[in-house]
């Protein structure tokens, strides 16, 4: 730990400081009140911010929870490399459970290898929660991402099937959080609920966080399908007659390779991404997540089934 004298004045207490303090407070509530928590860590930018917040909440001690990744095996290799590097740099325990395990067990039946695996992620997540007996899972979801998330509590209670009941949520007042669950139930906790995409980028810049380089502009083989730019990968190959081109793109989100589209961009630094984020006219998930475009309620339905 650095020991430098830094004095903040009240005047310089910014929105990022306010959000950071709120998130630290939430993580410490989980550490103090939950018996067996875990932090869901994917190697994406939001969960990388979560790691820094956990450092701020718990250092000089170790994290009072392991990092857990539910691997769809549809992830970008750069993201997995970043996941492993950050977990190892921090010296924290990383548990990886793969959808492949669930497929082998027969609890997931895949119909089409080239289709997104997000709908199945909930199955492996619930199996992992049961395997370790986690009573709380910290996740990096934000309310500005999606309409259903805008209505979800910071401490979001899930029943024994992992289901979210939007009409029957516990009231959440002040910063007094109800963390209680019965055996077999659990709580999803979202410490960065109140952060926006812009806040995340400003924080990555301020804290100089290491993120996968596919967030920055790079050249990549893509195809155009409908209005979307589709990255070519071993999972998604051009259909007969489809043209592959080299485009300069970056990813705004890094999810399942089969349904995460990059945006055309020349932003090669965090500052340039912030400038682009400030002027973009399309939402983060709208631009990049084809699975959320299928119906007005896609995310709400997935959450009801146990998705984080």
């Amino acid at each position: 730990m650095k020991l430098v004298e830094k004095n903040m004045t009240k005047h310089s207490f910014t929105h990022l400081d306010a959000l950071e303090s709120e998130s630290i407070h939430i993580m410490r509530e989980v550490a103090a009140e939950c018996k067996n928590p875990a932090l869901l860590f994917s190697g994406g930018k939001d969960s990388i911010v979560m790691l820094r917040l956990a450092e701020k909440a718990f250092r000089p001690a170790k994290f009072p929870f392991p990092l857990v990744h539910i691997d769809t095996e549809h992830n970008f290799p750069e993201v997995i490399a970043c996941r492993d590097k950050l977990a190892s740099d921090l010296g924290e325990r990383l548990i990886v459970r793969s959808l492949e395990d669930s497929i082998k067990r027969g609890s997931i039946v895949i119909k089409d290898e080239s289709k997104p695996r997000n709908p199945y992620q909930s199955v492996t997540l619930l199996e992992t929660i049961a395997e370790f007996g986690f009573d709380a899972c910290l996740g990096g979801a934000r309310r500005d991402e999606e309409k259903a998330r805008a209505k979800e509590r910071i401490f979001s209670f899930r029943d024994e099937f992992g289901q979210w009941d939007p009409k029957n949520q516990r009231p959440e007042l002040w910063d007094t959080y109800n963390t209680r669950v019965n055996a077999g139930e659990n709580i999803r906790v979202f410490p960065i609920s109140n952060w926006t995409e812009m806040d995340i980028w400003e924080y990555i810049g301020r804290e100089k966080l290491y993120i996968p380089d596919i967030y920055f502009a790079h050249e990549r083989e893509v195809m155009r399908r409908g209005g979307n730019v589709i990255p070519v990968s071993h999972l998604v190959q051009p259909k007969p007659g489809e043209k592959v081109e080299i485009a300069t793109v970056r990813f705004r989100t890094v999810g399942d390779m089969t349904c995460t589209a990059p945006v055309e961009s020349t932003a090669r630094t965090v500052e340039e991404i912030i400038a682009e984020t400030a002027s973009t006219r399309i939402t983060e998930r709208g631009a990049t997540r084809m699975d959320d475009q299928t119906s007005e309620a896609s995310m709400e339905l997935r959450k009801k089934e146990g998705y984080f």
């Binding site: 004095n7 903040m8 303090s21 250092r59 209505k151 007042l173 309620a297």
Partner: protein
């Protein structure tokens, strides 16, 4: 890059008929916080429903049931920013049975926008919303007199509503009320001033939201530090490190300050203020920090540090509070519940129900039982003492929730009187 923008949380109270969703839509739209894909989605829905223009109120409908039934069933949070401030909107439905949602959203708000339809003036629901804003001690209130276009932008009508409202508001504990005439539909005095309300010389709504002073919305005078988590690394490098992690809920603290640990009453001094970014000389609310102390004292989660020199909080096993009952199942006075107050939880009994407040008339009524949305003055006995302030002094150390241990549900919210 990192500007000095502050964070302002506000709520909007009013019904769909008052144009609440339209006002939020207008704020987001005119401040360029609506994205094209969001806009095209609501344009599509508006067309499907046979509307002539794009219905901005659709932006705030989140869940399937709401879209199907055209209602808002819960608190939704929206985010937008201007170069001066970042904003979090707690969007609460104005419908009668949803008092609990407004109470929930108001609990974290710096400011409440209370909407009035200029044609209708001060209604029962205006009084209810104002009472709840005062009960939750929301520091600033904006009375937004909407639909001025429907009353020919009449200054006389605005003045009439303002004086009626101020007469009513005088009974309440509202500290800072500001009245703004506007038309959400046409965009007058929301983000832009428009050309129809030239007689109004005050700030437009967004300008007011950007400028209102919020530094003193937290308790700045009395240091309050509930211990949240004890940090004991037990590594070679930090073998003897024992830090007390928490968030400062009031006032400020410096290295060397004398503190009292409550409820034990033991005293010591602050050795270090530890943060990940380095040690601080002084820290203030609402920073999250870790304190180390100059004496070894048995301290655990739930204890509260206060400055020895400051105004002392109460340490009691019985107290009076205003309670808002939030659960479908009514209060059962034969049962014990759990109070969670700051970082301390304790079993409790409701020893007295004094009266119920009619949120529409502010009249006090005799009370036998508490149902959902009821607000009542009660006396509570707890198994072990709590360390608290009056809610109007400190919103953090003066508030608590009540949990039903059988269902684990949060059944009530309380403000200590």
């Amino acid at each position: 890059m990192d500007t000095n923008t502050q964070l302002l949380r506000f709520i909007t109270a009013g019904s769909v008929d008052d144009g609440k969703s339209t006002l939020i839509g207008r704020l987001l739209h005119d401040s360029k916080s609506i994205f094209e894909d969001q806009f095209s989605a609501i344009a599509k829905t508006s067309e499907k429903r046979g509307m002539a223009a794009v219905d901005l109120s659709l932006l705030t409908d989140g869940l399937q049931a709401e879209r199907e039934q055209g209602i808002t069933i819960d608190v939704a949070y929206r985010y937008f920013a201007t170069p001066k401030r970042k904003f979090i909107i707690g969007d609460t439905p104005g419908h009668e049975q949803y008092t609990r949602n407004m109470v929930t959203a108001a609990s974290t708000a710096n400011l409440a926008i209370i909407l009035i339809d200029a044609r209708k003036g001060v209604l029962t629901q205006t009084k209810r919303h104002s009472y709840l804003a005062s009960l939750l001690n929301v520091p600033h209130v904006v009375l937004a007199v909407n639909k001025m276009d429907m009353v020919d932008y009449s200054q006389a009508r605005f003045d009439e509503i303002v004086s009626e409202y101020k007469a009513f508001a005088a009974q309440l504990d509202l500290h800072d009320v500001h009245c703004i005439p506007l038309s959400a539909l046409n965009g007058d005095m929301v983000v832009d001033r428009g050309g129809n309300l030239d007689w109004y010389k005050g700030p437009a709504l967004l300008e007011f939201l950007e400028e209102v002073a919020i530094d003193h919305d937290v308790n700045t005078s009395d240091f309050r530090f509930p211990v949240q988590w004890v940090c004991r690394p037990q590594t070679n490098e930090y073998h003897d490190f024992r830090g007390f992690a928490g968030r400062i809920e009031g006032g400020e603290i410096s290295v060397g300050d004398a503190i009292t640990i409550l409820p034990s009453g033991r005293t010591t001094t602050v050795k270090e203020i530890v943060t990940y970014d380095g040690n601080l000389a002084t820290a203030f609310a609402p920073q999250s920090v870790t304190l180390t102390l100059n004496d070894e004292i048995d301290i655990s989660r739930g204890d509260m540090f206060v400055k020895t020199s400051a105004h002392a909080p109460k340490v009691e096993k019985e107290f009076e509070a205003t309670l808002c009952w939030l659960a479908e199942a009514p209060l059962d006075r034969n049962r014990k519940y759990l109070v969670k107050h700051t970082t301390r939880s304790a079993k409790c009994l409701f020893s007295r129900l004094d009266y119920r407040v009619d949120v529409n008339t502010l009249e006090q009524h005799a009370v036998e039982k508490l149902n959902m949305n009821d607000i009542a003055r009660v006396a509570i006995k707890v198994q072990s003492p709590l360390v608290f302030d009056r809610y109007d002094i400190d919103r953090s150390t003066g508030s608590f929730i009540v949990i039903d241990e059988a269902s684990n549900n949060t059944v009530a919210a309380g403000m200590i009187a």
